[in-house]
């Protein structure tokens, strides 16, 4: 049996264990887990085929990155449904830092200017941006509801609407950045991140794998912070009403 087939079957076997465990514990998650696992199998198989095409026709790399960004914006945009054009704002908040950081890393020579290097780098950074935007959007929407009385109390003390929203924005960005900060802080001690493991399994030297992972992790900090801050700014703009008022968005 080929290595690829063994890996695939091993992964599917463990996914079946997860589905069975969720069913046994009565968590109501079996269907969702099975669907997520099936989607992962189909999507990664399809991506494998697409990546082959991208390596042969580099122009396709741009289209692929655009598809990643659009999907990320749709996924994160669901968390900020109360904001007009939420998906557009999510796209801007994810794309701006992710593409800027990717461009920077390629321009300074951290990675080769090839589809093989650029597409995975952009993918990881877009994924990080998406997570930050989702968390920020969800927390901001919750804050506008749960902290509305606090926000109005600040308005009544003479704050501008922007100033009254600042503590909520701080809390939302803190929430969004916590996973990235924890991941960066615990790397090598608690977790071995995907890029590092993948490179090692692919035969790279540990030092090369570590330096590549380090660049990605540190870039993610900047990308996720910028994505969260941009999204928070867009939510703030949508929440501020004329007359220094703050409206709920849900």
């Amino acid at each position: 049996m080929s290595d690829v087939l063994v890996q695939g079957l091993a992964g599917i076997a463990l996914a079946v264990v997860a589905v069975a465990l969720a069913w046994r514990l009565g968590l109501g998650l079996s269907k969702e887990l099975a669907l997520a696992a099936t989607r992962a199998v189909v999507q990664l198989t399809a991506v494998g085929a697409v990546i082959v095409a991208i390596f042969e026709i580099p122009a396709l790399a741009f289209a692929f990155v655009a598809v990643m960004l659009t999907t990320a914006a749709f996924t994160a945009g669901r968390r900020i449904g109360g904001i007009p054009n939420g998906r557009v704002w999510a796209f801007v908040a994810i794309a701006t830092p992710a593409l800027t950081a990717t461009g920077f890393l390629l321009a300074v020579g951290a990675f080769d200017f090839t589809p093989r290097a650029a597409v995975p780098t952009a993918g990881i950074l877009i994924g990080g941006g998406m997570a930050a935007v989702s968390l920020t959007g969800r927390r901001m929407t919750e804050e506008l509801e749960s902290a509305h009385a606090e926000i109005e109390a600040r308005l009544c003390l003479g704050d501008s609407a922007r100033d009254a929203l600042r503590p909520s924005i701080r809390r939302a960005i803190h929430t969004a950045l916590t996973p990235a900060i924890d991941q960066t802080r615990s790397v090598g001690l608690v977790t071995l991140p995907g890029a590092f493991v993948g490179l090692l399994l692919g035969g790279a030297k540990p030092a090369e794998a570590a330096s590549t992972q380090l660049v990605v992790l540190l870039s993610l900090l900047a990308v996720e912070l910028a994505a969260a801050a941009l999204l928070a700014t867009f939510v703030q703009r949508a929440a501020v009403a004329p007359g220094e008022r703050v409206r709920r968005l849900s």
Binding site: E152, L155, C156, A241, G243, E244
Partner: protein, 195 residues
């Protein structure tokens, strides 16, 4: 006239409401639940946009004022006092230009100095109500709006706040409060105005 509202319209909640409060006067605004008393107070400080009518502060249409300036001149304390995260001192100095005025603010709240470092969100309902009023007063407003100031308080606490309100009016503040409690309306107010 310190505060004058005429023909106020807010959606279906307020239809032509009016209110007048002079300096040194306590006016009790009364009406059945849901008649728009809170909405009227919130409309005065422009937390709710008006669909019609006019609010005048010392003769000036408040629509022409910067809302931040308006909210410093008109203090508003909501029905459920909201404590900002932090200590009592953080709350009382939030709007103070001079932190040295903390002692005066604590005094206005009827709280001794030991309260300054206590977590404001863990105070009792009565203490929170006093801090909320004292915090609104740190902006030195000309008008004070109190929405159900005795809601959830027992009689001795309500009486203490009532004495404080009378003292503030005697010092020249124009005060408008809403209340369902007849004892508050008859005991605190110079005049009752039905909505």
């Amino acid at each position: 006239m310190a505060l004058e509202c005429a023909e106020l319209v807010v959606g279906d909640v307020l239809r032509g409401a009016a209110l007048r409060v002079q300096r040194g006067e306590v006016v009790a605004l009364t009406a059945p639940s849901g008649a728009g008393k809170s909405t009227l107070l919130r409309a005065v400080v422009r937390l709710v946009p008006l669909d019609g009518g006019v609010v005048r502060l010392d003769g000036t249409d408040v629509a022409t004022l910067d809302p931040r300036v308006l909210r410093r001149r008109v203090g508003f304390v909501a029905q459920r006092p909201v404590m900002l995260p932090g200590t009592v001192a953080d709350n009382l100095t939030y709007a103070l230009d001079e932190p040295a005025d903390l002692a005066a603010a604590l005094d206005a709240a009827g709280l001794d100095a030991s309260f300054a470092d206590r977590d404001a969100t863990r105070l009792s309902g009565g203490e929170q109500a006093r801090v909320a009023i004292a915090r609104a007063l740190t902006r030195k407003p000309e008008v004070l709006l109190l929405d159900e100031p005795t809601s959830g308080l027992d009689a001795p606490l309500a009486e203490a706040i009532g004495r404080h309100v009378r003292e503030l009016a005697a010092a020249g503040l124009a005060i408008c409060l809403t209340s369902h409690d007849r004892a508050v309306v008859t005991g605190w107010a110079d005049r009752e105005q039905r909505l």
